[in-house]
């Protein structure tokens, strides 16, 4: 473990460089360049807010403000965006870098770290815009917003663990990647991101606790829509699951990283 940290430190230049390069490469040959990295999420937020609050006049049951549903939607969709970006990139992580893995000897653990960092970088742009929007419309939740930091951290750890498991397995069984793509779509609709929990039939509700993402998304919604502190105790199962997935992911990675190169 310490040797792994030490090699990460030694390669910090490469890690930061990769994140930077990845970020730049997206808009490399465009005139507006980095501008697009702001315009894209901005457009998304505008769609969710203007369309839903002004055009469709969608209302959240129990909350009366104009932007309530838009905020509800954004707090779920934007964070889900981080989750799904990390997942899709993790599952193809080793396949996409096959050439590098086969030809150059470097600490392989760098690759997932780069994925995490560049996803977080993209997310930070979106969330900054979202916070601006909250400030502009007078919906800023105040001090409670601090609570979103440990929850995002938990979400990242959970996604890292799951992503690592899926990423390693996908090298040996390509079906895993295909399946995970489909599974993510179902998962999105099985989580109350777009719709409120209250519209679900009573019979289904107990099963929601089996979905580890529900408590995370609910926490964001509590913070931004209700402007309240989340229910910390509800997060414990997801927290332990996240730890278990990280351990499993590391275990799979360590045991199969050598064999992986032969498979690519």
């Amino acid at each position: 473990m310490t040797s792994m940290l030490r090699s990460l430190w030694a390669y910090r230049g490469f890690i930061l460089g990769s994140v930077k390069r990845e970020f730049q490469s997206k808009y490399r040959n465009s005139l507006l360049g980095m501008g697009w990295s702001v315009i894209n999420p901005l457009a998304m937020i505008v769609v969710y807010t203007v369309i839903f609050s002004q055009v469709m006049k969608a209302k959240l049951p129990g909350v009366d403000t104009t932007f309530a549903y838009s905020i509800y939607l954004c707090s779920g969709v934007l964070t889900w965006g981080l989750f799904s970006e990390m997942m899709t990139r993790s599952q193809n992580l080793f396949l996409d870098n096959a050439n590098l893995l086969k030809k150059i000897n470097f600490p392989r653990i760098i690759l997932p770290i780069v994925v995490v960092l560049s996803s977080v970088l993209n997310f930070s742009i979106v969330s900054t815009l979202f916070i601006f929007f909250l400030l502009l419309t007078g919906n800023f939740p105040g001090w409670v917003i601090v609570a979103s930091i440990p929850i995002i951290a938990l979400q990242i750890v959970f996604t890292m663990g799951l992503g690592m498991v899926v990423g390693v397995l996908n090298v040996f069984f390509r079906d895993v990647g295909q399946f995970s793509g489909i599974f993510l779509q179902f998962w999105f609709w099985l989580t109350p991101v777009v719709y409120p929990v209250s519209i679900l039939p009573h019979a289904i509700k107990p099963y929601l606790s089996l979905n580890p993402m529900v408590v995370i998304i609910e926490s964001y919604q509590t913070i931004f829509v209700n402007q309240e502190w989340p229910d910390w105790s509800s997060l414990w199962p997801t927290f332990f699951l996240a730890l278990a997935l990280c351990l499993l992911g590391m275990h799979l990675f360590r045991n199969h990283v050598g064999e992986m190169v032969d498979e690519l």
Partner: protein
């Protein structure tokens, strides 16, 4: 620093009878074995001392590249281990990981970082990398507009910017133009002089023989011979020629080298020898002496035309001088079957000291391409010595005179 110890190294790939077998094996976590091992390398042990240069040779598929990958650590060994001391640089796949949309400078930076070199160090080396690559203003252009040679130049310059204790070179080196090949080879030689240990895979005999102290021959994943480069090379030639015997005759000469004979056998070379001006057979001659090449040819069928050519080649097989009876304006026409012809070429051996071979060919017109009766490589071997002239180097003797004006 700079030693390589390879002990009982082996590499096997797992082969599964079908896709489900691996899943079954994983699910039963190692209690059942459904795969077979396909060994590509077995029982490889050798050590390379600091500052030594070792060449690895073998036919395609013998396991050379796998061995290098195991040594550099990109692939993990199935058995055995590799132990190295000192910083290692590998020139395996030059330009790996270059991103086409980024400039040469940015890519150079990234690939140096990938080798674990710190940013400060790269900054310091950058002017030197630029100067060595000699790609001018392209350094600030995106790599996608580079020619493959330019990419190679940049990649080589980055990989060798700092002298490593161990340098591992794959055949990749033979890309690029002659000028840069020469330049990169010079750099490798400099590293060697400064004490870098070299491990080289190459098919270039001359390169292996001129750089390496030792050679290792791999055959079907096993180390079959290790020793002086010349000896290993000769053995390699012998085994790699073994399967060609049906088409082309090959004979191992007294000195261990191999003579190749090809042709349609409508005429043959009966004898060939070098003599001095008094017709005494010679094998060692003085620089500048007059010698005769006497060749007897035999027409095995009726021939419309007959030309005899000879080519003197140096130790590395490079042509030194060659001509034929057509160029000497004496082609023979309408030869009857069974006719024996004696050719005598006379020339001054204005060539430098060293070992040479003579190849002979019987054909029509000015080359053997159209009608090759017989082509005989290494028909004669001779040595040139310099006892009478002032010392000089090279294969040509230009008989200089010198005047100095003060």
């Amino acid at each position: 620093m700079g030693t390589i110890t390879v002990s009982e190294l082996g590499k096997a790939y797992k082969q599964y009878p079908n896709r489900w077998s691996r899943l079954i094996e994983w699910l039963k976590s190692g209690r059942v074995k459904r795969h077979q091992l396909k060994w590509v390398l077995q029982d490889i042990s050798f050590t390379v001392k600091a500052g030594e240069a070792v060449g690895i040779i073998g036919i395609n598929g013998a396991g050379k590249s796998t061995l290098l990958k195991l040594i550099t650590g990109t692939t993990r060994p199935t058995t055995g281990s590799v132990h190295m001391t000192g910083r290692v640089a590998a020139l395996l796949e030059l330009g790996m990981g270059f991103h086409p949309d980024f400039t040469g400078r940015q890519n150079a930076f990234m690939s140096a970082q990938l080798m674990g070199i710190s940013s400060d160090e790269i900054m310091r080396q950058m002017p030197e990398i630029e100067a060595f690559a000699e790609i001018g203003e392209y350094i600030d252009q995106p790599v996608r507009v580079y020619s493959s040679g330019m990419q190679m130049r940049l990649a080589f310059s980055v990989a060798t910017a700092m002298r490593p204790e161990i340098l591992i070179v794959d055949e990749a080196l033979s890309v690029g133009d002659a000028y840069f090949q020469h330049k990169s080879f010079d750099r490798i030689r400099q590293f060697q002089k400064a004490g870098t240990t070299l491990l080289i895979v190459s098919h270039d005999k001359a390169a292996i023989q001129s750089i390496c102290d030792q050679a290792i021959l791999l055959k079907a994943g096993r180390l079959v011979m290790q020793g002086k480069p010349e000896a290993v090379m000769d053995y390699y030639n012998a085994i790699s020629a073994a399967h060609q015997q049906q088409e082309i005759g090959q004979f191992i000469l007294a000195n261990g080298s191999i003579q190749t004979v090809s042709g349609n056998r409508q005429a043959s070379i009966e004898s060939a020898l070098l003599t001095d001006t008094s017709d005494q057979k010679i094998e060692i001659l003085e620089v500048g002496s007059t010698v005769r090449l006497v060749v007897e040819a035999w027409a095995l069928s009726d021939l419309p035309e007959l030309v005899l050519g000879f080519m003197i080649k140096d130790r590395l097989g490079q042509p030194v001088f060659g001509t034929n009876s057509h160029h000497c304006r004496q082609p023979l026409a309408q030869i009857k079957k069974g006719k024996r012809i004696r050719y005598v070429f006379e020339f001054n051996a204005n060539i430098g000291p060293g070992h040479y071979t003579i190849a002979l060919a019987l054909h029509t017109k000015d080359t053997h391409l159209e009608n090759n009766y017989e082509w005989r490589d290494q028909a004669l071997l001779f040595e040139v010595v310099n006892n009478q002239q002032d010392e000089f180097v090279g294969t040509a003797w230009l008989k200089p005179s010198l005047k100095i004006y003060l």
